[in-house]
Amino acid sequence: MKEKKNALQKLKQWIDGEITFFDAEESISRQQKKQQTFCFPKFSRLKKAQTSPAAYRLFCMGVAAIIILALLAVVNELPLFGAAEDPTNNEVVERYIESGIEETGAINFVAGMILDYRAFDTFGESNVLFLAVICVVMLLQKDEKNYNALEEREIQEDELFDKKSGKVLIRCAGKYLSPLVMLYGIYVILNGHLSPGGGFSGGSIVGAGLILYSVAYGHKKMQTFFTMKTFTIINVTCLLVYCACKSYSFFTGANHVGASVPKGIPGMILSSGFILPLNICVGMIVTCTMYGFYSLFTKGEI
């Protein structure tokens, strides 16, 4: 009992940062010592190979060749593409193809699968994207603690250089191409349940359009309508809407309440239940993520 209490107290102290179990510098020096004394006692040939670069290169090529041959052998064992006795040709695919339109209302089977049958997976994917961009924000965003005078000077010099050079070609491309690119992306998102595409691909196209605009007209102009605040609001609202929609359909489906969303006529733009709003949500999250990556990599802020 005493030991347990001690362990709890130690854990609390560790969380508060008063004591450390693991000293980084000490472990690094220990590892270096190990590396210095470490050698291959049994494989004397390997040691010889390490000393002579030609033999080392030959050894590396041999290992790579063995791995490539093993992978190619596995590829050879795979079933033929689209063969009848393929293990993926089972009742799941049959169900999707036979009653997919009835059950989801989406003509694009892939959208029906991703956002209806397996919507939980897509929710996880959106969360992973959100987490990735949050990690990039934590690592790269500039604030008092993460500030480098040299980098700041470089960014300012780059801005001066950008202003001096005319950038006629990229200005022209940004002016006439980026609206078209964004329009195409929005079309892909909105027609996700009717034609190929959907939230993720459409969102990345819109994000590419935003990046083109930002390259052509600079970061300052972008900040007039897209700041960290809008980024956070859009991301969190879209994730919450997605969560609410899917919770509703999981709850009603699991309890056999039967209050399902009207499917509409397959082929119309306003059909297939929740797939259209979910596509819009995923698309907005992906757009924000793509632009967020770009702007954090260049300027360190959104």
């Binding site: 190929p196 595409g197 196209i205 590419a208 990599f297």
Partner: protein, 82 residues
């Protein structure tokens, strides 16, 4: 049938080229090229969804991020050699 073989051979060539080329700028451009050809191959395999995503992410956003990283670590010639 024949045009698919041409694309597949081009795909292999660019995949090997990425790892062989010493110039990083060229490597990123060959990688972009690989993504564009891969998008066409997806079209031949009758999956337009993947083709759109591959073209947008692989050829567009990915290579932009690669270029930005190269610029940040001063590995691109002509920007800031130090």
């Amino acid at each position: 049938m024949q045009i698919e073989w041409i694309f597949l051979i081009f795909l292999l060539a660019s995949a090997i080229g990425v790892s062989v080329v010493k110039n990083l700028f060229l490597a990123v451009i060959i990688f972009m090229d690989y993504s564009a050809i891969m998008a066409i191959v997806w079209l031949f395999l009758e999956s337009p969804d993947l083709a759109i995503t591959q073209a947008a992410v692989g050829a567009g956003v990915d290579s932009i991020l690669f270029f930005l990283t190269l610029k940040k670590v001063h590995a691109l010639k002509g920007t800031r050699e130090e």
